[in-house]
Subunit: 132 residues, 2 copies
DNA sequence: CGTACACGCTATAGTGGCTATAGGGTCAAG
DNA sequence: CTTGACCCTATAGCCACTATAGCGTGTACG
């Protein structure tokens, strides 16, 4: 049973060393055992847990939500209703953001088409369009 | 020439009072004159400037970018090339984010369809899909 | 005139999710 | 035995606000 240093864990999961320590102090991952030299010593289980966290982060869940999901996922006998609800609510938020960003992009497209960067500021269409 | 209190300016622009003070100390808007009672006294010009800031913020420009754009927009004789470049670069970033968010949404959709919240955690498809 | 209450002021700390820095200690290779 | 890669803690910084504490001001009503 050889253990992993924090650097090994970082490589195995794609999470930066500093971020791993941050997750530990934020209570997302449990404090691991220490070596004689006071180095953190991780196990294969820690790799799995951190990968779980990383995937949820990549999906845009907050650390708070991830804490909840970690707690839920360890209670194998509980109804998974809550997990489903969190996912659907998060999806809704993402869809809203997507919508906003689409409006934003088309507004920026409109702006960037109306000025070709050839004139002076005084007759710049972008500034004109934005100034009241 | 009656002047506006910070609350009036807030109402006129939709920017919160605290945020206006923050913008002032961040150097986005100039410190206004003060009344006898040390209240900030704004002018119609300040309303325009703050609306300009607010629109750029709504388009997702950072405060740094807005500082630059304010500087540029006051130099009427300069080429508006820089404004155009900033807009186009920002558009690219927004389009990238849009793309990422689209992937994210479809992943979340997939997840939220595979679990109907009826079972127990042990066989929850969402947790299964995320856990390694 | 008094007082209640909205509004204003400054200064400071907190938010989220990291990232950077300072100032050290540990360990394996050459 | 020293070099250099890695590790440790503690603290501060980032962005764009937001919240809080502890005051002062201005006005409407009785």
């Amino acid at each position: 049973m050889k253990s992993l240093s924090i650097g090994d864990l970082a490589k195995a999961t794609g999470v930066k060393v500093v971020t791993i320590r941050y997750y530990e102090q934020a209570g997302l991952i449990p404090p691991p055992l220490r070596t004689e030299g006071n180095y953190r010593a991780y196990t294969a289980d820690d790799v799995r847990r951190l990968q779980f966290v990383r995937r949820l982060r990549a999906l845009g869940f907050t650390l708070d939500q991830i804490r909840d999901l970690l707690l839920l996922s360890s209670e194998k006998n509980q109804a998974c209703n809550a997990v489903d609800r969190m996912t659907k609510r998060h999806l809704k938020e993402v869809q809203q953001k997507l919508h906003d960003l689409q409006l934003l992009a088309s507004e920026l497209e409109r702006l960037s088409q109306c000025c070709q960067g050839k004139g002076r500021i005084a007759e710049c269409r972008i500034i004109e369009a934005l100034a009241p």
